[in-house]
């Protein structure tokens, strides 16, 4: 059944529109304003056109941060999706205490403030006071000092990210699994289907919708990551864990270079916009086709 067309529905949407416009459009215009000017002080500024954009697009630091960001987001998806699905498959599906307890424990990392996530991992990974850092450094005998060794800093940020966000994927996949009627499993049992066949032909197709949401949310949020790696490594050593948001804040707040930061912001935002559009289209299709 087609939804009725009625422009008075705008009245219901107006408060949301006004509120988000206030928070998004005014600041965005300020950023655009910065990105085309060279600001010396509040009274001295000159129009520089697209100079900052040209400079930022040719900046190797920006290009490095961008490829680092894509690599990070790709690894996050490659690790968290299979792991999350695997965890969802072993979570208890009948109600009762075990199920409730599992839900609360799995969801717990999602409710921890992001800088506390960073703090938890600092405490865990320091070779002097952290159990994991101590274990790698003393028991395994591998020199472990994540703030100074780039590969270890990378591994630490990735491990933290996987620890923090795999629960989201697991809960989404679990929601999809719970929606599968028992009759499907009974039919599979009568047909003598193997566990793999059940997963491949019943469970995986039924999880398509929720997994698309998981990919969308995980890709976007890992693309915007700031607080957790900032607390853990501060973007270092050198630039080795400087992802896009960390680099942007370095320019905007650290160096107070609002022209370059403005141009960078707009480029960053356009990338996000393009990617969001692709994912949104995918999601719309799933929204109409998932139940088939």
């Amino acid at each position: 059944m087609q939804k009725p067309f009625d422009n008075r529905a705008w009245l219901l949407v107006l408060p949301v529109f006004a509120l988000v416009a206030f928070n998004a459009i005014i600041p965005l215009m300020t950023v655009v304003n910065y990105s085309v000017q060279d600001v010396f002080d509040p009274t001295h500024r000159s129009f520089v056109g697209a100079d900052w954009y040209r400079e930022m697009l040719h900046s190797t630091r920006l290009q490095n941060a961008l490829s680092r960001q894509f690599l990070f987001s790709a690894l996050v998806l490659l690790i968290e999706l299979p792991l999350g699905v695997a965890i969802a498959l072993v979570m208890p599906r009948k109600g009762g205490f075990a199920t409730s307890a599992t839900m609360v424990l799995v969801a717990l990392p999602l409710l921890i403030p992001w800088n506390v996530i960073g703090t938890i991992w600092v405490i865990l990974l320091r070779p002097d006071i952290g159990i994991v850092g101590h274990f790698i450094d003393h028991t395994l005998g591998i020199h472990f000092d994540y703030p100074t060794v780039p590969s270890q800093a990378w591994g630490s940020v990735l491990a933290m990210e996987v620890w923090h966000w795999t629960p989201l994927v697991a809960l989404l996949a679990y929601a999809g699994l719970r929606a599968i009627p028992d009759a499907y499993y009974q039919a599979a049992r009568i047909d003598g289907a193997s566990a793999w066949a059940v997963f491949r032909h019943i469970e995986l197709p039924k999880m398509r919708g929720v997994l698309t949401i998981a990919i969308l949310l995980r890709f976007m949020d890992s693309f915007l990551i700031y607080t957790e790696p900032f607390v853990l490594t501060g973007g270092g050593p050198g630039d080795s864990t400087t992802f896009l948001s960390i680099y942007l804040v370095k320019i905007a707040v650290g160096e107070f270079d609002v022209g370059r930061a403005g141009a960078f912001s707009i480029i960053y935002f356009l990338i996000i916009l393009a990617l969001s559009y692709v994912f949104y289209q995918a999601l719309q299709r799933v929204g109409t086709g998932a139940s088939r």
């Binding site: 059944m1 087609q2 939804k3 067309f5 422009n7 529905a9 705008w10 949407v13 949301v16 529109f17 509120l19 988000v20 206030f22 928070n23 998004a24 005014i26 600041p27 965005l28 300020t30 950023v31 965890i87 072993v90 409730s100 599992t102 839900m103 424990l105 969801a107 717990l108 990392p109 999602l110 409710l111 921890i112 403030p113 800088n115 506390v116 703090t119 938890i120 405490i123 865990l124 006071i129 159990i131 809960l171 719970r178 919708g209 929720v210 949401i213 976007m220 607080t227 896009l244 948001s245 942007l248 905007a252 707040v253 930061a261 912001s265 935002f269 916009l273 969001s276 559009y277 949104y280």
Partner: protein, 267 residues
């Protein structure tokens, strides 16, 4: 045997999941000199003095009050504006509806780092810096789009015949909405409130930028454990544990809806 293997994998995962949190709990129950002198799996000289210090010092515990104040304001504002909007998206087509929905979603995906400086200037110009309402309003940037998205999913699960029956029975739209429709999707409203709490509670970049002292969130107060004598790890860990407790309680209340909620009402 197969069931036993599943339980073993689950227990292993939960163990790995809880290890970092347990380690912080361990630290929080120890004195800083004790922490620096030896590594022990359980606190040998357990002490509650870190917690006592936080719960008796006003500059510490006011951080929790501040966080709760702006998180609850944000949740109320978000629900009030998002409920009618989600209804409009779920029940009507109107000029530019698809574009508007996409534009809302882009704000959920906008990097906070991009908006940091201009949002600070905007709220400075309005004289709202260091007031709860500034953080509550700033957090609507990502919470309102998410709330509309989740609520629209739950509302679309309610058959449209109910709306039409109510109209024939003589209900006005506001009366139908408040007395019939919202009770029907109360699980969705609860889940949405949970998500607003969650994302407002964990966010720090805006919350720290828009506050100075009076409305400073607990997560930002934590950074002051850095002093001339170095970090007080025990105190830092205790403050961290106390930021996890409210989240754990809130999850407990929504545990039966959490799976559906994370699927944004679209299962």
């Amino acid at each position: 045997m197969k069931a036993r293997a599943r339980v073993a994998v689950l227990v292993l995962y939960l163990g790995l999941l809880l290890l970092p949190i347990y380690w912080m709990l361990n630290m929080s129950l120890r004195d800083n000199n004790d922490i620096m002198s030896q590594l022990t799996l359980v606190p040998v000289h357990p002490t509650l003095k870190n917690y006592a210090e936080i719960l008796t010092d006003k500059s510490w515990y006011m951080g929790y009050v501040n966080s709760f104040a702006y998180v609850s304001m944000n949740t109320v504002i978000t629900l009030v504006v998002a409920l009618p909007a989600a209804y409009a998206f779920s029940r009507y087509r109107f000029l530019g509806d698809k574009h508007l929905f996409f534009w809302l979603l882009t704000n959920r995906m906008a990097p906070a780092a991009v908006f940091l400086l201009p949002v600070f200037q905007l709220y400075s110009a309005l004289g709202l810096i260091d007031h709860y309402i500034a953080v509550a309003l700033a957090h609507t940037l990502f919470n309102v789009p998410l709330a509309v998205w989740i609520l629209e999913g739950f509302m679309s699960g309610v058959p449209r015949e109910i709306d039409e029956t109510a109209r024939i029975d003589g209900y006005s739209l506001p009366r139908f909405f408040l007395t019939v429709f919202i009770p029907l999707i109360r699980a969705g409203v609860g889940v949405t409130a949970f998500f607003c709490f969650m994302f407002s509670w964990v966010e720090l970049l805006f919350a720290r930028t828009l506050t100075i002292t009076e409305a400073k969130p607990i997560a930002a107060v934590m950074t002051r454990t850095v002093s001339a004598s170095g970090l007080d790890w025990g105190l830092l860990a205790a403050a961290g544990i106390l930021t996890i407790v409210p989240g754990g309680l809130v999850i407990y209340f929504v545990r039966n809806y959490i799976a559906k909620g994370f699927a944004l009402g679209r299962v």
